[in-house]
Structures are given as structure tokens and as C-alpha cells.
């Protein structure tokens, strides 16, 4: 199989106006990926599937990733000229910057005909709140059907063009997207026999007067020194 940057170059040459970026993977696995822009993603996917050199006829895995907004504090060294004419003083200036979050969909493509792969493609939404639409690749690979429904269910990415976009795992009345990093569990830890810190915090919200220590309902003998 040709290298990923060659594929990218071919894609860029073929689809004018499309932006295809190479996302490098620093880990030992070194599975690099192509970041597609949503506007052209389906055309590119179709090309990847039908191109005779690639024939990526099998989309093995489709998954979502949540990248929440990150507040990044950058420290910059700024040299301030001393008005008194002395040597320039170097001070540190902190700037806070919120890196916008996004939802990402990752697809792992293989070729069953030519037995190569994977080619990893990914798409990102504009943000995590209202612009969460991505083109569905189900019309290209039917195997994305349930997986995209699952991503829609758990991450809230809306796949345009999906034939039957409903929640897959949670019930239809459910409102949240539980795999997002900022999802908060419902408070149903009313009573836990082994109170760990997180559980305890929840329990406190439910019980105004915390009881005294009684870890086991069975009688506890005196602790020997």
C-alpha cells in the first residue's frame, strides 16, 4: 500500500478545494491518520473505497472521541523596556486561551480485496454544542450503520445522511451523551457499603445527617491497639 502522505497528495490533487491533513501519531504504533474536512468527506470516502490501488472496501471500526474545551495557560516572556532607560526587564506574562473543543469521528479502513490497511481517517465537528454535524459514511460503508448510531447516542455527533439515525444503546427519551468527558452521572449512589470518596460526596447530598461509622452491618469488635 502506498504511504499515507502519498494518498493525501493524490486526494488533494483530485479533490480541489478539499483540505486533507496528515495527523501524526507519536506513539510506538505510529498509525498516522488523515483529517478530512466534512464537506468533502463522503466523496473522498467513496474514492478511497473504489480507487483501484486502494480498494478500502471494509470499514472496520468507527468511533467517536470527545475533546472538551481546554483552558491553556501560556506563559510568555516579554521584555519590557525600562522607561528609566535601564536594561530591558524580562517579565512573564500569562495569557489564558481556551482551545475550542470538538467531537471527532475516527474510521479504520481496510481492504479485504487487497488485504492491506489500516488507513485511518478522521473528521472533526466545529464545536461540541450546536455545530455537531458530520457527513455519514454509512452510504459508503454499511458497517458504519450501527457504529454511527452509537456515536450519535454516546457523543452526540449528528451524521447527516444516515438512513436511520436513532439512539442505539440508550433509550429514546434519554437526553444526555454519556461518553462525553463532561457527562455527570445521575445521583443513584444512595447507599454504598464501602464508601469511597466519590460515592461519599454523592451520598452526602442525599443524607443530611451523616451516620457514624458502621462499616459492616455485622457487629465490629473493638480494635486492638
Amino acid at each position: 500500500m502506498e504511504a499515507l502522505d502519498q494518498i493525501r497528495d493524490r486526494l488533494l490533487a483530485r479533490f480541489s478545494g478539499a483540505s486533507v491533513a496528515l495527523v501524526t501519531n507519536p506513539g510506538p504504533a505510529a498509525e498516522h491518520s488523515l483529517l478530512l474536512d466534512p464537506a468533502h468527506a463522503r466523496e473522498i470516502a467513496l474514492f478511497l473505497r473504489d480507487d483501484s490501488a486502494l480498494q478500502l472496501d471494509y470499514c472496520s471500526n468507527a468511533t467517536g472521541i470527545d475533546w472538551p474545551e481546554k483552558e491553556i495557560v501560556e506563559t510568555k516572556k516579554v521584555s519590557v523596556l525600562d522607561p528609566a532607560g535601564g536594561p530591558a526587564k524580562i517579565t512573564e506574562e500569562k495569557t489564558k486561551r481556551v482551545e475550542p473543543g470538538c467531537l471527532e469521528a475516527v474510521y479504520h479502513l481496510y481492504s479485504m480485496a487487497l488485504r492491506h490497511g489500516p488507513v485511518v481517517i478522521r473528521m472533526r465537528t466545529a464545536n461540541r454544542s450546536d455545530k455537531v454535524n458530520l457527513p455519514s459514511l454509512t452510504p459508503v460503508w454499511r458497517s458504519c450503520d450501527f457504529q454511527e448510531r452509537e456515536i450519535f447516542d454516546l457523543y452526540g455527533i449528528v451524521f447527516d445522511g444516515h438512513p436511520d439515525l436513532r439512539r442505539l444503546l440508550m433509550w429514546d427519551e434519554f437526553k444526555d451523551h454519556p461518553m462525553r468527558k463532561d457527562y455527570v452521572d445521575p445521583d443513584d449512589f444512595e447507599w454504598e457499603p464501602t464508601p469511597h470518596a466519590g460515592v461519599l460526596d454523592r451520598a452526602k447530598m442525599h443524607y443530611s445527617a451523616p451516620a457514624t461509622l458502621a462499616v459492616s452491618a455485622a457487629p465490629q469488635p473493638e480494635v486492638k491497639p
Binding site: 457499603p193 469511597h196 462499616v215 480494635v223 486492638k224
Partner: protein, 218 residues
């Protein structure tokens, strides 16, 4: 011919039926309450805490309340509270001990990670599986006293592993004793040297006693 496959099938079941009276391979039922299952040594059900003796289980617990198991337990079913004082452990070192050690067997997934990760060979996996209870809270939440089992019991369920553990602990103890002896000897020698040469500069303190203060820059 139509029916030959069916007749072959009937023959196989008939063979099993007759075989169930004569061939032990074809009558595999173990009559459970009377026939006990033969549990392999590796079998694990729920955790137990090993104590050195059966007479004083609380005093001789190997557990030093390091809370590694509590942190690593995948379903978070272990709950430990450390003691405020110390007492000598299996190797004779002064250690903390658990004031409260509770395992919720109604949550435990019997994965054995706690036993695998315990550096003190204290938490091990039991082989008792008949633990049906009518009350989830009173029956299935095991406290320190219920969890503690003697080393002899541990030997009885896992002879090979327990022997290895004992050998390792004995070696550790010996090493610790030798070290203590050496340290005592060194101390005595140092004291003698100090006595011999009071004017000389004091020997540098052992590293363990005076660790370097962490540098704020790091």
C-alpha cells in the same frame, strides 16, 4: 434415503442413553451437595486476609494498610482505614495496620488483581463459594474479622503457592534480620569509633535518615 440422517441421530442418542449406565464418560453428573467439586489450586472466589496465626488473627495480620488493593480494585469494593499507630509485621518491621478492612463481596468481581498486586502477600483469594445470603448487607459485606484467615488455612487451600510465599517471607525476614544485625554492628562500630576518636568529625548521617530536601526547582 430419506430418514437415514434421522436414524443415525437416534442411534447416537441411544448410544448415549445406554452409555449413561455403563460408561462414566457419558454420565458426567456430579451430585453437588454430596460430591464436592474438585477445586484446582488456582481457583479463586473472594479475597481473604492472611494472618500468621489462627489464635490472634487481628494481631498477626500481614496487611500493612498500604491501600494498593483499594486503589487497584477494578470495581472498588475494598475499603481500608489505616491505623494511627504501628506494630511489627511479618518481617519484624514496624508497620501500620488496617483498623477497618471491609470487602463488599456483593460487588467483588473475583478478578484476583488485589492478590496479584499485594506486595505483602497479605490479601489472597479464598476458595469458598457457598456464600448465598438472604440479606445483602448483613451477609455479604465482610469486615476485617470475617476476612482474616490463618496461614494454615491458606496452606490448606493453596499448598504450592503458600509454600512459595512462606519461603519468600522467611528469606525477607532473614535478610531483614541480617540487615538489622549489620546495622547494629555498624552502629556499635561507629559508636566505638566515635568513642575512640571523639575529636574526629562526625560520620555522615545515613541517607535514609536524612533525605535530601526536595528542591523547589524540580
Amino acid at each position: 434415503m430419506l430418514g437415514s440422517g434421522i436414524i443415525k441421530g437416534l442411534a447416537v442418542t441411544a448410544k448415549n442413553f445406554v452409555g449413561s449406565y455403563f460408561v462414566p464418560e457419558r454420565m458426567v453428573t456430579e451430585q453437588y451437595p454430596e460430591d464436592r467439586p474438585k477445586l484446582p489450586e488456582n481457583y479463586r472466589s473472594f479475597p481473604l486476609l492472611v494472618s500468621e496465626t489462627a489464635e490472634d488473627p487481628m494481631g498477626t495480620l500481614r496487611c500493612v494498610a498500604c491501600q494498593i488493593c483499594e486503589k487497584e480494585c477494578p470495581p472498588q469494593c475494598i475499603y481500608i482505614e489505616k491505623s494511627k499507630d504501628k506494630k511489627p509485621d511479618a518481617t519484624g518491621k514496624m508497620q501500620l495496620y488496617p483498623v477497618v478492612f471491609a470487602i463488599d463481596t456483593s460487588v467483588c468481581m473475583s478478578c484476583g488483581l488485589c492478590a496479584e498486586l499485594c506486595p505483602f502477600d497479605s490479601i489472597k483469594m479464598d476458595q469458598v463459594f457457598e456464600v448465598a445470603a438472604t440479606n445483602r448487607f448483613a451477609g455479604l459485606l465482610l469486615n476485617r474479622e470475617q476476612l482474616a484467615k490463618s496461614n494454615a488455612y491458606y496452606h490448606s487451600i493453596r499448598p504450592v503457592e503458600a509454600a512459595e510465599v512462606d519461603a519468600r517471607l522467611a528469606a525477607d525476614r532473614q535478610a531483614a534480620e541480617a540487615k538489622a544485625k549489620a546495622a547494629a554492628a555498624a552502629k556499635a562500630a561507629a559508636a566505638a569509633a566515635k568513642a575512640a576518636a571523639p575529636a574526629a568529625q562526625p560520620a555522615p548521617a545515613p541517607v535514609a535518615e536524612a533525605p535530601k530536601p526536595p528542591s523547589p526547582a524540580a
